[in-house]
């Protein structure tokens, strides 16, 4: 062990070796599209949008990517959409972002809303309001690299294939890692079960113990109502190979009915929780620690629900 070491480039920055990049590459760095994206970022997201993206360049190589394939320039573009959703569509109110410690950290959150806008909004909160801005990493299904274009988007924005080695490597590189311990059952539950946490997997706790990573519990309130699912068309889901196919009453409206409802998101970052113990302990021992995290998040959700006066504002 201890040999798993590509967590940062060994010679960051000096790889150019005095060779001037050829014209097309230099042009791409100062083209009009880049200019437009920068302006849109300031207009649609926030004034210091570009400075925040620029700060992600630390740790990238001469090709503008970090060892996990993240490209800040790509994030700058995708961040426009996420940032607009964050500011204008879901009008996210994020609290406790200052609780996120420096260095490695695991963000553990409830999962809801059928389509994972919750993950995108947590990531946006950390990028747009975090001090310093953090690029939240997530892990995605192992078949996602087989989907054209999506594979590129995932890789360039920090979403790596769900593999235990990747998780360890990301944390050893002092990144932040988002985990939804409920998994798909959390996201795909029916509206009647809204805000009831599903069973938590134990893997995240073993990973936290193994790598000595603090856990920040997060509650997302507002995502449950974006797609109030009343029925899961299982056969249809199986047909298209999806884990679930939720049906909402609004789907009677053509196209518009497919959009998420513009609910107001309330994201709360809790105090970091630090655990120690043997990562290979029995399930019961690990389960107790997981229970602590789960009940903390459930309490945060309950508080959030009590405090909110309206679903949409």
């Amino acid at each position: 062990m201890g040999e798993r070491a590509i967590v940062e480039w060994t010679s960051p920055g000096d790889g150019l070796d005095g060779v001037v990049p050829p014209a097309p590459l230099a042009a791409a760095r100062a083209s009009w599209t880049r200019d437009a994206v920068e302006r849109l970022g300031v207009l649609a997201v926030q004034a210091d949008y570009n400075e925040r993206i620029d700060s992600l360049r630390r740790g990238t190589n001469e090709f503008g990517v970090d060892p996990f394939g993240v490209s800040p320039e790509f994030v700058r573009v995708v961040g426009l959409v996420a940032g607009w959703l964050f500011r204008s569509y879901f009008r996210v109110r994020a609290t406790g972002v200052e609780n996120i410690p420096e260095g490695r950290v695991m963000i553990i959150s409830n999962h809801s809303g059928q389509i994972p806008f919750d993950g995108a909004m947590i990531a946006s909160a950390m990028l747009l309001e975090g001090e310093p801005p953090r690029l939240l990493r997530t892990m995605v299904e192992r078949w996602s690299p087989t989907i054209p274009y999506v594979s590129i988007m995932f890789s360039r924005t920090g979403q790596v294939v769900g593999h235990p080695e990747n998780a360890v490597r990301l944390l050893e590189a002092e990144h932040s890692l988002l985990v939804f311990p409920e998994g798909a059952p959390g996201s795909n539950k029916m509206f009647s079960k809204a805000y009831q946490l599903q069973e938590f997997g134990l893997g995240f706790m073993r990973l936290a113990l193994q790598t000595g990573t603090p856990i920040v519990p997060v509650s997302v309130v507002g995502a449950e109502e974006q797609y109030p699912a009343i029925y899961n068309a299982r056969k249809l889901a199986r047909l298209i190979g999806a884990p679930a196919f939720p049906v909402t009453p609004f789907m009677v409206l053509p196209l518009v009915g497919l959009l998420p409802l513009p609910t107001k998101y309330r994201i709360s970052f809790g105090e970091p929780m630090v655990f120690d113990g043997d990562p290979d302990d029995d399930d019961e021992v690990i389960g107790e620690k997981v229970w602590l995290v789960r009940s903390t998040i459930q309490n945060m959700i309950n508080r959030g629900l009590r405090e909110r006066e309206h679903v949409f504002w």
Binding site: V19, W143, I147, V161, E165
Partner: protein
């Protein structure tokens, strides 16, 4: 040790045997090693511009002449570069040549107490697969054959070396698994990157690693140091999206939908329009990156050629 000291010691320690000495890498290695001691190159192919003091044994590894060589000479190390991977040759020819030949070589190494064996394997044997972790360590299983049957023999050669490592602790066995070797060498990755117009898979842009041929030779030299043994990945100076490399090189690309890529590549190969077997498409679609921390630590090796230099040379 000074240069002269090395040379004197070299005469006592015996000869370096390099198989596949007439390939491009073989020639580079032989030129590097003949300054440090006697070098015997084994390769059926002709070796026209070999240095004067390099002996050439123009025989197949399975021939008696090669056995005689091991019986007669004091050998300090065997470097096996002679793994055949010509996609135009029949699978059976590949198997017989690669596996039987290497098995013979291992037999000689154990029978005549050769103290060092270095095998040039390849990181591509891990396979370009969607399930791959971002960086593969030496412990990762060699899965290329699951998608690409023709490489079974190369996987088996790697495995043979690993089992030899355990069965014959007296022989320091080193397996090197470099990522795509580029430079003046005429292998598939170099040809791909040197082509003016190259195919890419639409919607896929995997990160790739390339390593300069000289750095691979450096690694072989480091592996030849007494005391070094084990399996080592060799990654290049950095990794980059395939599109960035092609952009830097100013290549014209044409996108092929992923579902057409393999059938098209297969047809093109059959019609001899290209020399790329259809299965190479895996490496244009999925990642196969390696972590070479062990090589950097244990071998004390780092690639010296920067990415910019590598690309300048490929232009």
């Amino acid at each position: 040790m000074t240069e002269r000291g090395k040379k004197q010691a070299g005469e006592d320690e015996g000869a370096f045997v390099v198989t596949g000495a007439c390939g491009w890498l073989g020639k580079l290695l032989v030129r590097r090693l003949h300054r440090q001691g006697r070098v015997i190159g084994i390769d059926r192919r002709p070796f026209p511009d070999r240095p004067k003091d390099v002996e050439h044994v123009p025989h197949d590894l399975r021939r008696k002449k090669v056995h005689d060589l091991f019986r007669r000479e004091r050998i300090r190390a065997v470097v096996h570069l002679g793994v055949m991977h010509d996609p135009r040759k029949k699978a059976e020819t590949h198997h017989v040549w690669n596996i039987e030949g290497f098995a013979k070589l291992l037999e000689y190494c154990s029978a005549y107490d050769v103290p060092k064996l270095v095998l040039m394997s390849s990181a591509s044997l891990y396979g370009g697969r969607p399930e791959n972790p971002q960086y593969l360590t030496e412990e990762a299983p060699l899965m290329a054959a699951s998608r690409f049957g023709q490489v079974t023999d190369q996987v088996q050669v790697d495995m043979l070396a690993q089992s030899f490592f355990w069965r014959h602790p007296g022989c320091e066995t080193v397996v090197l698994r470099p990522c795509s070797i580029v430079g003046r060498v005429g292998n598939a990755p170099s040809k791909y990157l040197k082509a003016r117009k190259v195919p890419v898979i639409m919607g896929f842009d995997p990160m790739v690693q390339v390593i300069h041929e000289n750095d691979v030779i450096d690694a072989v030299e480091a592996a030849l140091r007494p005391g070094v043994r084990g399996v080592f990945n060799l990654a290049g100076p950095t990794a980059a999206p395939l599109s960035s490399l092609l952009g830097w090189l100013g290549r014209e690309t044409y996108g092929v939908p992923f579902f057409l890529a393999r059938p098209l590549a297969r047809q093109a190969f059959k019609l001899k329009l290209t020399d790329f077997p259809a299965e190479e498409v895996d490496y244009l679609q999925f990642q196969c990156l390696v972590d070479d921390a062990r090589a950097r630590g244990v071998l004390g090796w780092t690639p010296r050629t920067t990415m910019a230099r590598i690309l300048e040379e490929l232009k």
